[in-house]
């Protein structure tokens, strides 16, 4: 009884300074749990922004028939919703690549994204066929082919053929390697690809994975 009385008087004195520790604790606990529940409820809203399962599934490899491509010609196909270029480079085009090395950011493609088998100067499995993601590493525009040489290309006297991004003017050579002082920081990305036969190319899959 006496304990109860004491509690009651304590309670009164707390009321006088408008503080009730028990209720405070209850309110704090409730608010704390409420905040946790609130965070949990927020999760689906954040999660709904991630690529959906359907978007993730739509990335199957694409087959390409190389026999229809003439030397010096380029074709564009769609893989994962992005443009992929296939360029049939002439021996002269491949030979000219070395001439660009001094003006490139990353001539040996050490800092750029490509499968192991597409490193080096030509950045291809077979030097003749250059497979490349046609998406500028600056801000994702698709560069345009500029295959004419020298002044004729409108790209300057010493132009050895390559690509020009229409958005911010980044220049790439015929192995997708970016020139110095361009907005694009690294070389164009080479997607995983493999040869099913001499004329059948599979884009989106390494030979190792199969």
């Amino acid at each position: 009884m006496s304990d109860n009385k004491e509690n009651a008087s304590n309670g009164e004195s707390c009321c006088a300074c408008s503080l009730d520790p028990e209720r405070r604790a209850l309110l704090a606990a409730t608010a704390g749990v409420g905040a946790i529940v609130g965070l949990g409820v927020a999760a689906p809203f954040v999660g709904s922004f991630l690529p959906s399962e359907r978007a993730k599934a739509a990335g199957a490899p694409v087959e390409y028939d190389l026999s229809k491509l003439a030397p010096g010609q380029m074709d564009t196909i769609e893989w994962q919703g992005k443009p992929v270029w296939i360029v049939r480079r002439t021996p002269e085009m491949v030979a000219a690549l070395k001439k660009n090395d001094a003006n490139l950011v990353d001539p040996n493609s050490e800092r750029s994204e490509q499968p192991e088998y597409a490193k080096g100067t030509a950045r291809a499995i077979k030097d003749e066929y250059f497979v490349c993601l046609g998406v500028c590493t600056h801000l994702g525009c698709s560069p345009n082919p500029k295959f004419l040489l020298g002044a004729e290309s409108g790209m300057g006297e010493d132009w050895n053929g390559g690509f020009l991004c229409p958005c911010h003017g980044s220049r790439f050579d015929l192995a997708g390697r970016v020139f110095k002082s361009m907005p694009a920081p690294v070389n164009l990305v080479i997607p995983p690809h493999s040869y099913l036969s001499d004329t059948r190319l599979l884009i989106g899959k390494d030979s190792k994975e199969s």
Binding site: F49, L50, P51, S52, A55, G59, T76, E78, Q80, G81, K82, P83, R111, G134, H138, L139, G140, C141, S142, P143, N144, C165, P166, C167, H168, G169, K180, S181, M182, P183, A184, P185
Partner: protein, 499 residues
């Protein structure tokens, strides 16, 4: 007669009935009929009410457009994306009057930016951002950012070539953020490319999320304005001199005086607006870009892509920030730091920052190389050792691409600092000296040049001029604390001047 008297009596009673339950008369008086604004408002003071008008135009036309628009990137039976067809075919051809509603909305977007840029320029002319109006200015900055968001999200909806590639470029800006960039841009798009998921979420942002924020900010902007009262072309406080009833001597009630002035401005504006809608709705390719009349094609970037004119100054600054520009940018940051250091003899914290900021910027720009011109120091001392943490090469700093994005965002946000950068003893340009006037002229010219080159394809001359103008743009803000203090000002009158 008797009958009329009864009607007015009834109306009075009805108003009293409402006033007992909702402060209708009070709100009307305190914000309109007894809100005293300076009597010397000029041409520049039209753009606030015009901005409100354009907001209403955008909301009303937007509601009607949504009735026929379909945010769907899939192809219809004719092989055209549904969203593109719902704009270019349904709204533009099939819906009665749809064409004009769409033109009002698209022209309204450009008009909004014209009006808001002029409104902001007014603020800069007469020092409307100065104490005690800093919060009005900051709410205004929030409105400006929301408008940019609205314009950007809305531009994707017609799903044309420029819509698609514009969104592609801007969303990819976020991929420049170190470490989390790649996931961040995927998170924004909801896909690995700009796709149907992107279109739908941008639609949601454009029609509901941002407009709600925008309305809240506009309300806050006006509440803050009515709390402190309007500035004026003389930049003196009219509340300093009040009559016996506490009414500012140089103030006149907003209703009817300023309302009449605004109605006049609105009429002129609407005549011009209607002329554009009926005779030049595409604005020569500046209001509606020609490439946007082609449906979006994910495989082909148009030969020349540029944002709509109101984004071009910032787009130019993005393009100007290349790796060979970074040394100049660093020199600018170093200069500001030296100046700040000299002026902050008493404050250790500020002096510390003045050392830290240039050092951090140097690393961020060039890593451990000499201004990005040489190989990193580590490559000489420890060849073959990599200092890459989470995809960031510590020896090389961060990409110029990232700094371009920081430049673009940062240069917009610089306006928000104006209340604290401007150290001039006077507010209005009328009493400022030649130094500040020159700086303002240079700033406006640089802004226009940047805007022009942003509409043009990249070129060497354009690039160098954009870089010069970027430095001038930054200098206007960065050097303001010094030139605004050095400036020889004229004496400010005690009361308003007007003819």
């Amino acid at each position: 007669m008797n009958c009329c008297k009864t009607v007015t009596d009834k109306a009075q009673q009805a108003l009293a009935w409402v006033d007992e339950r909702f402060p209708l008369s009070f709100l009307w008086k305190s914000h309109v009929s007894e809100y005293y604004a300076p009597k010397n408002f000029n041409f520049w003071y039209l753009f606030g009410s015009l901005a409100l008008l354009v907001l209403v135009i955008q909301i009303v036309t937007g509601i009607f457009l949504v009735m026929n628009y379909k945010p769907d990137a899939s192809l219809n039976l004719a092989g055209v994306p549904v969203a593109f067809a719902s704009v270019e075919s349904t709204i533009m051809r099939d819906v009665w009057g749809g064409k004009y509603i769409r033109y009002m909305h698209s022209t309204g977007a450009s008009a909004f930016f014209i009006v808001v840029y002029l409104h902001m320029f007014r603020g800069m002319l007469y020092g409307s951002y100065r104490k005690p109006r800093e919060l009005i200015w900051l709410f205004g900055m929030g409105i400006f950012l929301c408008l940019m968001g609205e314009a950007f999200f809305g531009y994707l909806l017609p799903w044309g070539q420029m819509s698609f590639w514009g969104a592609q470029v801007i969303v990819n800006l976020f991929s420049a953020v170190p470490v989390i960039g790649g996931q961040l841009s995927e998170f924004i798009r909801g896909d690995f490319v700009v796709s149907d998921a992107t279109l739908n979420r941008f639609f949601a942002f454009h029609v509901i999320a941002i407009p709600l924020v925008l309305l809240g900010l506009v309300t806050s902007h006006l509440i803050a304005l009515h709390e402190v009262g309007s500035n004026n072309p003389d930049g003196v406080e009219i509340k300093k001199h009040k009559d016996a009833n506490g009414i500012p001597l140089d103030g006149i009630p907003f209703y009817p005086y300023h309302v009449i002035k605004d109605v006049f401005g609105v009429s002129i504006f609407l005549i011009v607006f209607a002329a554009v809608i009926f005779f030049a709705p595409e604005g020569g390719g500046y209001f509606l870009e020609f490439n946007n009349f082609f449906p979006a094609d994910a495989l082909k970037t148009p030969p020349h892509i540029a944002p709509v004119w109101y984004f071009t100054p910032y787009y130019s600054m993005l393009r100007a920030t290349t790796s060979d520009f970074l040394p100049f940018l660093w020199a600018f940051i170093a200069l500001i730091s030296v100046l700040t250091w000299r002026g902050a003899a008493s404050c250790r914290f500020v002096r510390g920052l003045c050392v830290l900021v240039p050092l951090a910027a140097y690393w961020g720009f060039f890593g451990l190389s000499a201004f990005g011109l040489t190989v990193p120091l580590t490559a000489l001392l420890l060849p073959g050792v990599k200092f890459t943490v989470l995809g960031v090469d510590l020896a090389r700093g961060l990409d110029a691409k990232f700094w371009g994005v920081v430049m673009m965002g940062g240069s917009v946000m610089l306006f928000a600092l104006l209340p604290w950068l401007d150290r001039s003893p006077v507010k209005s340009i009328r009493y400022k000296g030649v130094l500040v006037k020159t700086a303002l002229v240079i700033f406006v010219v640089a802004f226009l040049i940047l805007g022009y080159f942003g509409t043009q394809p990249p070129s060497p001359v354009g690039n160098i001029l954009s870089q010069i103008c970027t430095i001038l743009y930054l200098s206007f803000f960065g050097l303001m604390p010094w030139y605004s203090r050095l400036d020889k000002t004229k004496p400010v009158p005690e009361r308003l001047t007007w003819k």
